[in-house]
Assembly symmetry: D2
Homo-oligomer: 279 residues x 4
């Protein structure tokens, strides 16, 4: 399955500013990214690209002098190679979690695991398999939290979402992650492009560590889960934000798109890809 | 400078439990750790040791079956090789922060940077050098936050400390980290053994990224800063906790010690080591 | 039904201190309080008694000079005259709430109504009668929040209880109040002595305004609801606390008791008094 | 001094809705309100007026059926009779606070006194007179909190303001109240019309109980403090909000004005009215 993805972000830059953009799709075993293009207006800005450790985030650090209009555009082709996943449906033991997954058990900025033990334990822990637990978490969020554009901001975290019961994709993901970790299941944030997201925008889901693999969950159920192009995974939105701004700049516009090149084939795959792993 | 360090933690283990202990001193360029010994009671428990990525944490994963009394003891010799640091006293530009330090700019569980921009900017950002800024932060915390044993818990975070004005070493460190990051200075948590800490316990400080090095700050001013043996650094206490417990266990006792082998020589070094870097 | 109630509070008073005690039972149409006795050790302290407006609280303001041991003892006889309540089971309209009940719609310190609208609306508002709604709220709290002694403190509020799912009677009451107000039902805090509370202590419930009367609810279900002696009602624990301390004093001990004079008769009344109104 | 005040609030009312408006100026010894007019569009709505106990708030309860446009207009003449206040500048003893002021010591929704004891005590309590303490609080807020329109919302409370250091008049008042109460000085919210407020709007200040009188403080320093027309005082914005809405309605517009009839005389009084009491 091939997709054409693009993002265009524009700003009024009021002082010399350093941006960290995190908008390039990740290079992973599940997705091949080609034909990448990054164009800026004005063209002459210093751009440096680097990866952040184990998080698969490909940061672009861009120095922009003061200007009334700065724009960065990214386009790429993404080929998804997802395979059906057969879960053994066992129960995860903390004693067997591999080191690289262990730190996804810990609390993070937007996922205050330490405040959710009781709720998560009572509500979800009695289920028999790890997959059933995470699915129950995702279902609970879908049923109890309302998707309301603009209802939250960059400081909203999972304990507010569980109380106030509204949020956007980012909040749905944070709550899913926090609840998984609270019952000792490693979980991480998944920032992505999403095919058929309406209105088009960046999207966020979460991955839980089940049977030795990172399985994708989207509590918003807004898009087919086999049409996502991963940008990065991380602890939460704190380390996978699509733009970190050091300086003073006002966002003017964000335009994101994700088009499938063969829509029919995409639809056909839906049945086989009910459980998805973006490796 | 040589130190003998030890830690002894005991628990009543009510169900089969997996512990992640983070009590071994780190192997770094500044400190040589030898003669390490780990003994458990009962002796027959499964122990596995691993490191967490870039964080220098050496985790011990221990599986303990239900028992009325479980104890883990750690002893080691630590040789500190600290050198005087001459700071150029320049101002850090975000554009020059190396990739491995970038993620220490982001908000984390106990350091809600996103809520402290205004305060940190107004209070500390006008100073000319990065060192002066961090020193002002450390001084502010020392002056305004009171060290009160038992005043906080595992959910206390920097925004509570700045409001409630009391806490323990962990809270002092979190607030220091949060304020540094809020003015774009990478900062990280520093968990350690501390010589002359009274009463003896684990200790926590913070490191700020200045002139290309991680400089140590201790806003509690409870101990000489050239007598610390690093256990781990990390985003905050969430990923450097000395014990994470998966299962049910009640802590019975924690006994920590840190003895200098040559006290006189230690005192003499104080003057040369006003600014310290634990690499 | 007659009860003998008593409370004995002792303190180490480290500086000259003013106490506001709120431990005397209220004089209301439902309860007749007689044989009241207040004794202090030392005997010579200045005591002044006053009521706080519409709240029925009978405050004792006591000036205590520095002393290693101060004790206040209160005893009284309370005669409860509760009558069966027949609710019309209608739905309350905000347009008909009498002025004296209106302010019990507003948010208060521990009842952050403004953060619970969505949850309360979705979960409880579809029910047809006001009584059914409040009963559903009380049931929800009973089912989802665990009574854990010592799990919370004087700063814990309803939004923490709904997240962390544990607390004591005070927290159960606060959450009940907050959820009622969030769907436009006036609700107030009810501080009391409670017959058969085990271990004996002060108790807290909440009252909701239904069919023109204040109906009692106890989400803890720890005691029969027709054996309560009201001390005060108010917005929440902020204005009905049994002791406010201005000065420095350490609590040494609290001993509370509530004995029925005719236990058999008390048991017999249980069936008739399923719905109770303490006027 | 005479003022002409007016307020005009308009809404799109999406379901039958009950409004509680709190926009009429209070009748007090310091201000005489005459020529009051309340006009609604559509004209035929049920209006009922009532006062809330000791709070001086004059509520208008208005039932509005669904309509695309509802407007309520209030106009009145207000005559202020303020006299110079000579404070004895003593220190308030909790033992002498009259009963009617006692409840203004307690925590309330937006004034979490219980979390601010340490800060308030260390920062302000060493000063000798109650007036000096409150003035220091007002100065501290003025210096450390930035007035930023739109920076906060209806859930923002004093502990957020002290951390995030920005807010509007309501937040300045809440923080002032919370800090006063934290050092045992009764303080209350003061909702008002304000002459020379720019842009015109409702305004909020706070009153502290000093030398037996309620003295006005405005930490925003946006307007002369002898040109305020009191609407209500209360615990905080929770019980003095200018509009509480039960139903579904979108605010369309708020237009507030306050004009002095004799501007020259107003200016002349400034010197004599440095310390003001609105009784």
């Amino acid at each position: 399955m091939k997709f054409k993805i693009s993002a265009e972000l524009s700003y009024k830059v009021k002082t010399d500013t350093t941006f960290f953009f995190n908008i390039q799709a990740a290079q992973t075993r599940s997705q091949l990214i080609t034909d990448e293009q990054i164009i800026t207006t004005p063209a002459k800005v210093k751009i440096e690209s680097f990866e952040l450790g184990t998080r698969k985030a490909r940061f672009l650090r861009v120095q922009v002098p003061q200007t009334d209009y700065f724009k960065i555009s990214y386009t790429a082709m993404a080929e998804l190679k997802l395979k059906p996943v057969n879960l053994k449906r066992a129960e995860l033991q903390v004693s067997t979690i591999p080191p690289e997954a262990v730190s996804y058990l810990f609390p993070s900025r937007y996922c205050q695991v330490d405040k959710l033990y009781k709720f998560a334990d009572v509500e979800f822990n009695a289920l028999k398999t790890t997959y059933a637990k995470v699915q129950a978490i995702s279902n609970w969020i879908h049923r109890h939290v309302h998707y309301v554009s603009g209802s939250t901001n960059a400081s909203t975290s999972s304990i507010e979402t569980i109380t106030q019961r509204e949020g956007v994709c980012r909040d749905f993901a944070h709550l899913g992650i926090a609840l998984c970790r609270a019952i000792s299941i490693p979980a991480r944030y998944f920032a992505c492009y999403a095919y058929q997201l309406n209105p088009p925008d960046f999207h966020a889901c979460f991955e839980a560590y089940i049977d030795g693999r990172w399985i994708l969950f989207d509590a918003t159920r807004m898009v087919p889960q086999h049409g996502l192009i991963k940008i990065a995974h991380g602890y939460d939105a704190a380390d996978t934000s699509f733009a970190n701004i050091y300086g003073e700049a006002d966002a003017l516009n964000v335009v994101v798109s994700c088009e499938a090149l063969d829509k029919r084939r995409f639809e056909k795959q839906a049945d086989k890809l009910k459980v998805v792993c973006y490796e």
